[in-house]
C-alpha cells in the first residue's frame, strides 16, 4: 500500500510527460510560418470596401430587393447569429489561435468559433450547411489560404448582399509590417446570385484590448413595459 502511494508521483509525472509529448505537435508551429496568433481589429469601418453594386444575376438582384423590402429580415437585430461572411465584415475584433494542424478564429461577433483545418482533409461530401460552414486551409508561401463551403444561405452585410448555400469563400491572409498588421483578400463566388466572383480587401491591426462578451438583447422591447 505504502509502496503504491510512493510510486504515485512518478506515475503522475510519466502521465503528464506522455500527454505533453502527445499534444506537442499540435501546439508548436513550424518556425518558418507566419504567426497570426492573437487579437485583431479591422482598420476601417465595416462598410468600407463592400460593393454597392456587385455583379448580381437576376436571381441575386431579386433576393437583394426582397431583403430591402423587409427591414425586419436582418437576423442580427433579433440576436440570431448571421452566417460566416457577416462575421468577417462586422465591426468587431477577433482572436486567432494558430496551431500546426488548425487555425481557430474566435469572433467577438455573437461569440462565434470557426475551425480551419490545415491537416489536408477535404470538405465532407455529405455535409449539411451551417452558419460558419466547413473550412480547410493551407499555406502558399507566407499566405494562409482558407477555403470554405457549406455555409447556410444568408447575407454578407446588414445592407444585404445575399448568398445561397452554394457560396464558395476563399480568404487569403498575409502579414504586413513585420506582423503588426495583416491583410485579408476575401473572394466570394456564388454563381446562383453573382455572375462572377468578386473580392474585398481588408486590413487589420493587432488589437491590444480585450475581446468582449457579446451579450445580446432582442429588439422586442416596447417602451414603458
Amino acid at each position: 500500500m505504502c509502496e503504491a502511494y510512493g510510486r504515485t508521483p512518478l506515475l503522475a509525472l510519466i502521465g503528464v510527460l506522455t500527454f505533453v509529448v502527445a499534444i506537442s505537435p499540435n501546439l508548436s508551429l513550424a518556425a518558418d510560418l507566419p504567426d497570426f496568433s492573437g487579437a485583431w481589429e479591422s482598420e476601417t469601418w465595416s462598410t468600407v470596401g463592400w460593393p454597392t453594386e456587385p455583379p448580381y444575376t437576376s436571381a441575386g438582384r431579386l433576393a437583394q430587393q426582397a431583403y430591402e423590402a423587409d427591414p425586419q429580415d436582418d437576423p442580427t437585430q433579433n440576436c440570431l447569429s448571421p452566417a460566416l461572411v457577416l462575421h468577417i465584415s462586422a465591426p468587431f475584433p477577433h482572436e486567432i489561435i494558430q496551431q500546426e494542424h488548425r487555425v481557430t478564429f474566435l469572433y467577438e461577433s455573437f461569440h462565434q468559433v470557426r475551425r480551419v483545418w490545415l491537416d489536408e482533409r477535404d470538405h465532407p461530401e455529405d455535409a449539411y450547411p451551417t452558419l460558419m460552414g466547413h473550412s480547410i486551409g493551407w499555406w502558399e508561401g507566407d499566405t494562409l489560404v482558407v477555403d470554405t463551403r457549406n455555409v447556410e444561405a444568408g447575407h454578407m452585410r446588414p445592407q444585404g448582399l445575399p448568398h445561397t448555400e452554394g457560396l464558395h469563400v476563399i480568404e487569403r491572409y498575409t502579414l504586413l509590417d513585420g506582423g503588426e498588421r495583416k491583410q485579408l483578400v476575401i473572394t466570394l463566388d456564388d454563381p446562383a446570385y453573382y455572375r462572377e466572383p468578386w473580392s474585398v480587401t481588408k486590413t487589420y491591426a493587432r488589437f491590444n484590448e480585450n475581446i468582449l462578451d457579446y451579450d445580446c438583447v432582442p429588439r422586442l422591447h416596447v417602451p414603458g413595459e
Partner: protein
Amino acid sequence: MSCRIFQVTMTLWLGVSVPAFAHHSFLAHYDEDTSTRIEGVVTEVWYQNPHARVYVEVTNSDGETEIWETETYPRNILIRRGWRHDDLSVGDDVAVTGRQARDGGNRLQIITIIRPSDGWEGVGFSVDSID
C-alpha cells in the same frame, strides 16, 4: 411634472443624392435626409448589443408627454469609444439629435446625445455615416 421639456423638430432636405443603395441596417429604419432634435428625461437605458437604446420622455407642443426611442451603436463599440455602462441614468435630462424613423414613429438614430447639466456627450453616428 417630471417632464418640463419641449420638443423641436426640423427636417433638413439636404439636397444630396441618395447613395447607390439606400438600404442599410440603420437606414432601412431611419431617414438619412432628416434631422430631428428632442429634449427630455431618460426613462430607460438599454446598454446592449445589437444596438444600444435610450428612451426619452418628451413633452410635445400640445403639452402631452410621449416616449421616444433613440438608438446608437452596439454596446461593445460604445465601450471602446468611452461610453461607460453607468454614464447615463434614468432621470437624466438629455438632448438628442438624430435621423427620424421612416415610418414616422417616435424613434431616432442618434447623431448626438448630450446631458446639458454637465456637458457629457454620448456616442452617436456621424452625419455622413451610411450605416
